[in-house]
């Protein structure tokens, strides 16, 4: 992974994409060039000391020619509310790209990409990179309701199946109802979403002998592995250890994560 950068990004667009959900497009050419799917950035949400800490967001896409980085987020508190209120031209301090991203296949192969809710954000970026490598991608996308479903643009080689909890689009139920559609041609899977969803996906697919990677979310302070605040339980050798989600993740081999 390339070194993290601390840059002043400029807001290009802030768009409301669903109730309380926003897409933020930032001009940050060095970060756009360096970011890999699964990596994240820490954004300062204002210039005052309250709210104090940066907020972590997965990179949802980059346009390397335009030098743009896209983030997708839900307003959950004061920091994200401030970001939702930004307008083009606003400057935001950006730290990133951070963390370990997804392992991309060396050769073109079939992959399953499974996301629930905001967990789809890093997967949108991942799907673009997988398609660019000639992979065939089957996306299983889940959300509460149709309007919160963030799916990749239609593209050759990419098939999207959806499930919604209220049945407003695709199959009714959580994204896990789509797991039977992970076909035998699939060589690896990538997943991101709520912890319970990831646990269910990993349990089912690992049982079928598939290995994959999951992208985890945790409260973070530093984002670079210094404070040891954002830990999760992982298997290491014979035992267990706390791994910093920011520096050792946020992407982990699914088999390494201790879900209990």
């Amino acid at each position: 992974m390339s070194a993290a950068l601390l840059v002043e990004a400029v807001v290009l667009r802030t768009e409301r994409v669903a109730p309380d959900h926003y897409r933020l497009v930032l001009h940050a050419p060095e970060v756009a060039r360096a970011a890999r799917p699964g990596q994240f950035v820490m954004v300062r949400c204002g210039s005052a000391w309250d709210p104090l800490l940066r907020r972590p967001f997965s990179v949802a896409g980059v346009d390397r020619e335009a030098g743009a980085v896209t983030l997708l987020f839900r307003v959950v508190g004061r920091g994200t509310a401030l970001l939702a209120g930004t307008v083009p031209g606003d400057a935001l301090s950006l730290l990133g790209p951070l963390g370990r991203g997804f392992t991309l296949p060396q050769a073109a192969e079939a992959a399953a990409v499974i996301g629930g809710g905001m967990g789809l954000a890093p997967l949108l970026f991942l799907v673009e990179e997988l398609l660019a490598r000639g992979c065939r991608v089957r996306v299983l996308a889940g959300a509460r309701s149709r309007q919160y479903l963030f799916v990749p643009e239609p593209a050759p080689g990419c098939e999207v199946l959806v499930a919604t909890e209220d049945g407003s689009a695709g199959r009714p139920g959580p994204v896990t109802v789509l797991l039977p559609f992970v076909g035998p041609e699939v060589r690896r899977y990538y997943a991101c979403g709520p912890r319970e969803m990831l646990r269910a996906v990993a349990a089912e697919l690992e049982r079928r002998g598939l290995s994959g990677e999951v992208c985890l979310e945790e409260r973070m302070a530093c984002g670079v592995g210094a404070c040891r605040g954002c830990v999760c339980r992982v298997r290491r050798g014979e035992g267990m250890a706390w791994a910093a989600v920011c520096a050792e993740g946020p992407v982990f081999p699914a088999g390494e994560v201790c879900w209990e």
Binding site: W49, L53, R54, S93, R219, C227, G229, V231, A241
Partner: protein, 306 residues
């Protein structure tokens, strides 16, 4: 002419008065891509224990008004790792290092001090007498002048390095604790550690932190920290490293004028990884603007008669 920034705290000499606070800057390597590690007067590393420690269950941090709570629980890879890998990394970059140490007994502190005694690159030991997030040791020592002095004396006898005692403001009489550790052989005081606090998740109806309690840091605690520095300096005129919510040079200068000869930047690193060097640059600018030739002339200058 550039103002003089060099400071002396007992036998500890620093090229400038800005250091990093323990627990907020990892072992320096985490920030090596982002920060010029050679700028701060010293890097204080995360508290070391004899054996590696795995720390507390998550959640370990939560943001609070103009601050944050942490309950990391002294997670660290242990002193042997530090001697084999952590310290050589910093030494290669010519970074003066202050090692923070923590134990559950005075004997553990002394054993740590002995192991670190002749380690090249170390300029001082900081005795963490005030971690609020561990069941044994930490604040249990720092809250009591007799216990704090016992630990300090044990460390003093085990090392030739300058000894810094890091104290909590969560005590009835901070001057009494300060006096006790100075008499026991501490040459410098670090004031202050985080303040014990907690947050409740009203939707889950449970404490937010896995450890229930955590240490409050950030701008929210700065007035408490400045007061502690003022009181101790007024009573004892001893070398103090002031810390607690320093985000800018102006914040740092409050501590200096209250009596701190050096300052530590902590939680600010999470907001701005370059906070320490920006504080340093800002102090230098202030000295130039105010026509002060020597930083040392500012120390305690807000007290009557300097």
């Amino acid at each position: 002419m550039r103002p003089r920034l060099r400071v002396r705290l007992g036998r500890l000499e620093l090229k400038n008065p800005v250091v990093t606070a323990s627990g907020t800057f990892g072992f320096g390597r985490e920030y090596a891509d982002l920060v010029d590690l050679s700028r701060p007067g010293a890097v204080t590393v995360k508290s070391l224990t004899l054996a590696p420690r795995s720390g507390n269950p998550p959640p370990r941090t939560v943001e609070t008004p103009a601050g944050m709570l942490n309950a990391i629980g002294l997670e660290n890879p242990g002193v042997e790792w530090f001697l084999a890998e952590g310290l050589p990394f910093l030494r290669q970059r010519r970074v003066p290092v202050i090692a923070s140490i923590a134990g559950e007994t005075a004997a553990e502190y002394a054993a740590l001090a002995a192991k670190l005694d002749r380690a090249p690159g170390l300029v001082a030991l900081e005795v963490n007498l005030s971690c609020p997030n561990v069941a044994r040791g930490g604040l249990a020592f720092g809250g009591d002048p007799v216990a704090a002095a016992e630990v300090t004396r044990a460390v003093r006898e085990a090392t030739g390095l300058p000894v810094i005692a890091k104290l909590s403001a969560q005590v009835t009489d901070i001057v009494a604790v300060a006096r006790a550790v100075l008499e026991a052989g501490a040459e410098v005081l670090s004031l202050i550690n985080t303040l014990p606090g907690m947050a409740v998740d009203v939707y889950r109806r449970r404490p937010v932190l896995g450890n229930v309690f955590g240490g409050l840091s950030g701008p929210a605690i700065r007035p408490v920290a400045v007061r502690a520095v003022w009181q101790v300096y007024a009573a004892l005129r001893c070398p103090i490293i002031g810390m607690g919510g320093i985000m800018t040079a102006v914040d740092a200068l409050e501590f200096v004028l209250a009596g701190a000869r050096a300052v530590a930047v902590g939680t600010a690193h999470f907001v701005n990884p370059r906070a320490a060097e920006e504080v340093l640059d800002g102090i230098e600018r202030y000295l130039v603007e105010q026509g002060v030739a020597d930083f040392n002339d500012l120390v305690g200058a807000a007290h009557d008669g300097g």
